[in-house]
Symmetry: C2
Subunit: 527 residues, 2 copies
């Protein structure tokens, strides 16, 4: 059987000269899946980049609504293939078909594409700014090159490089995308790319607006993100890979947006335990187990007081985790990585409460794990204690007093989220007021009384945060329209004759509804 | 005489243990000025960073209007010291007192500070986003550490590290600033810092909101921008220094915003020459000579057709430049740098039309220079031909036809600005339509029929552009409020109890006038 085709320059075709090939594995059985995929060489990457530039030139002649039509048609196509997509994604990731793949992640993905379509039609995200007195006008425009998207292993649909949040944002901002599949689910990515390409044709978009490769060598990945003709990169994945790509992109002055590692600290204040320990424990257990713990917002660190209530709460969560079935991890290297991460915490004094070992299961597995450590020990080794273990692993930190809880918050690295559970009647408010100023600047999203898993796609969402959770604290990867600006250039037109301006900057409001900032005020009026 | 004091941790005091000292030079006489300034060591930098963190904690307890009051008072203080500031800046930079320092740059500086004050009061720049159904809310917040500002040599007031655009933006966004003076005008910077510090006290801002050092070693500059407790850096200066700082900051995942080098291409289309060659030449000559050519928006590259009109236009500009007096360059190294840059162009085939030599003047000087090159030769060596010569030096490219003009545009690096002069009656429109798609993505600001020097401080302005003009194409260094977001973190509040939210995200509109994006629509209403 030959290699699966790549999508380059508007055609599904065999890779010209693959550097190698690979197959995906079913994580539930540890067996190879039948299809074989090429590892593409630099020449294919460069072809894709050049083809994208041609697409950019073609796109300039089209109305922006073509992009919106594409996004909507693509969402329809995904729904039309729902069954086969769910089937294949389940084989490649072992994520449950129900509710996860079919009823949660797939609708989230199509919803995201449709929200992106709305943002394209609405145009307000482009932040058109018009100074009427000076005739200086500015607006977000597409980048001067395509966007490379690297998808993670843990969301085969919603963060897929050819269907997920970065894809939708980059396309909606008017850029061609070169998708680099996550090699753990190449078949799902191929199927999505087929659905996308059909929508490209049906909508009348330039054929090379969407291109897809399955895998490239590490070295060629660095060449892709630093290529002089690339616009930017969106990456979701490990801290190690992300930082390598960032280094290469930074040296080339190429924007790169990373969503990397996060342990998502959860502070459970004494009043919340007194009031509703059982309910909080139940929520937390569910959150820890979601996706076998392989969520970027998985609560990996729980901080509470070392008193009877705190210890009882920890025991309750420990029991819940040990009673729950062992989830299937996404890849062969999962169990080893978790063991290594736990090893770093243990070496500095964390102790296993439950779990801690690789599971002897048909699929890749690791026993649900809870570790504990004293606040003193945590503060002696804050770096090691913040090692991300990508699975159902949580470190409980038992602080000797409230002051130490605050000190722990102050020792934290950047995270996507930070959560504080507190008494609903206000009994914890004094502690909250000390804790919040320490925690809030270290997280992209601060939650109250709610687990961090579950990232709503809505305008106010921030899926971002200080490094190492991302590479820059000023952006979000989820939430439309704010995620679009990552893939845009801010451009100004100074004294440019009115008929030469982009439609969105001309005197007449192009839709009658687009929000523009005119002389410092937002308005939908025309000039 | 002792060393001049530094401003650290809310006190003017002697540097604790300077690594060395330096004096500034009067560029008009090449003589040292009397005052001596310390080169500060790493320990002083670290003290400043820690003091800034204390200021951040104090600032959280204050109303945002304190910052606005500071900015307004500071502008008043600058005006009250107008005469001595202009006197000293003239001594240190040789820039003319009139109109430049007194009637142009100083008012621009105070205007910018007052616009920043308005933005603080208005709060709309914070892009408050409220999703009422999900109670997810997000907003730009200050960074988790102070902003280091490195000012350039060419604008002692308007881009000064303790008074200019980056300073105003960083402070208005709620961050303490650690200003690193440009060593070519340390006295001006000290005087501004005194005016700033008096305003800090009078406004009731935390004393360490504004700190100032005169100079640090290159090595310590890298440590400053990559310090784990720093928020971000704003840098205006040379490409070489900027790229070194960027490399250090990037590795530490610290945001850095750079405004580096730009040759600001000007395309003069045949219809414009036919219609108004004399007027365009006069504008261009004035623009080339501004600040002895030491403007970041100085037109260093002029592209036109190699025909009778094009050559006549070039001769006219050459005459104008050679008849104009030789300006005084800002520093000792200026003439050598210009000679070196011109040497690179000559080596690849550019020819001197006028100028080309160091000037034998009392001050640092270089003869006003115009070089020419054929379009063919330019396209063979586009990199060398785009060498920035920081002075009155312009390379005229004589293109053999219109197609070659477009090819030249396509060969350009990123620039702050790009200008097209064209026939007012539309005779050049066909060429414009080919040229614009090539030029526009390569510049931050596209101009029609207007020289690029003169950067209006207004909301629509973009003083940015693709690398190497800056480090990232999505931001602007000038233009309030858009320049503020560089120094802000995007933070989200998910299910946070209403009374715990920042004022700007609570249900009631805090000013009644602040623009907030609510459920996708901009509004000044309360929830």
């Amino acid at each position: 059987m030959g290699l699966q085709p790549v999508l380059i320059n508007g055609t599904w075709r065999q890779d010209n000269a693959p550097e190698g090939s690979f197959r995906a594995t079913n994580p539930a059985t540890r067996q190879f899946l039948p299809d074989e995929y090429p590892v593409s060489a630099l020449a294919e990457i460069e072809l894709a980049i050049e083809a994208a530039h041609v697409a950019m030139a073609e796109l300039r002649l089209l109305e922006p609504d073509v992009i919106a039509r594409f996004l909507d048609l693509y969402a329809d196509n995904i729904e039309a293939r729902r069954e086969e997509l769910v089937e294949l994604a389940n084989l490649e990731t072992a994520l449950p078909k129900e509710p996860r793949l079919n009823s949660v992640e797939l609708p989230r993905t199509t919803n995201q594409l449709r929200q992106a379509a709305s943002a394209v039609r609405d145009r307000s995200w482009r932040h058109a700014t018009i100074d009427t007195k000076t005739n200086i006008r500015s607006i977000y425009m597409p980048l001067d090159g395509p966007v490379a998207v690297f998808g993670p292993n843990n969301f085969p649909f919603a963060f897929n490089s050819v269907a997920g949040g970065d894809f939708a944002a980059a396309i909606a901002a008017g850029n061609p995308v070169i998708a680099k599949a996550n090699p753990s689910h190449p078949g799902t990515t191929r199927m999505l790319a087929e659905a996308a390409f059909e929508a490209v044709i049906a909508a009348g978009l330039p054929r090379a607006m969407v291109q897809m490769l399955y895998r490239v060598s590490g070295e060629n990945g660095l060449k892709l993100v630093s290529h002089s003709r690339l616009g930017a990169t969106g990456f979701t994945g490990s801290r190690r890979a992300g930082m390598q790509l960032k280094d290469a992109a930074d040296r080339a002055c190429k924007p790169i947006y990373l969503e990397m590692s996060s342990i998502n600290p959860v502070f459970v204040l004494p009043g919340a335990l007194e009031e509703r320990a059982e309910a909080v424990a139940a929520e937390l257990i569910t959150s820890c187990l979601m996706g076998a713990g392989q969520f970027c917002t998985n609560p990996g660190l729980v901080v509470l007081l070392d008193d009877d209530e705190g210890r009882a709460f920890m025991s309750r969560v420990a029991s819940g985790l040990s009673e729950a079935p062992v989830g299937v991890l996404l890849g062969e290297r999962g169990p080893g990585h978790i063991r290594e991460a736990i090893g770093q915490m243990k070496e500095e004094g964390a102790e296993i409460v439950v779990g801690g070992d690789v599971a002897d299961t048909p699929g890749y597995g690791f026993h649900n794990t809870l570790l504990k450590v004293s606040g003193d020990t945590f503060l002696q080794h804050p770096d090691a204690m913040q090692t991300e273990a990508f699975g159902t692993v949580s470190l409980f930190v038992l602080a000797k007093d409230e002051e130490q809880m605050v000190a722990i918050a102050n020792s934290l690295d950047g995270n996507l989220t930070g959560t504080i559970y507190s008494h609903t009647g206000g009994a914890d408010d004094a502690l909250y007021d000390l804790l919040e100023p320490a925690l809030a600047p270290r997280v992209g999203r601060l939650l109250n009384d709610k687990v961090p898993t579950g990232v709503t796609v809505s305008p106010g969402m921030v899926h971002g945060g200080p490094p190492p959770s991302t590479g820059h604290p000023g952006f979000t990867a989820v939430g439309i329209p704010n995620s679009l600006v990552r893939f845009a250039a801010l451009r100004c037109y100074d004294n440019v004759r009115l008929h030469r301006l982009p439609n969105e900057l001309r005197n007449e409001n192009p839709t009658g509804k687009m929000w523009r900032s005119m002389d410092g005020q937002w308005t939908t009026d025309s000039v």
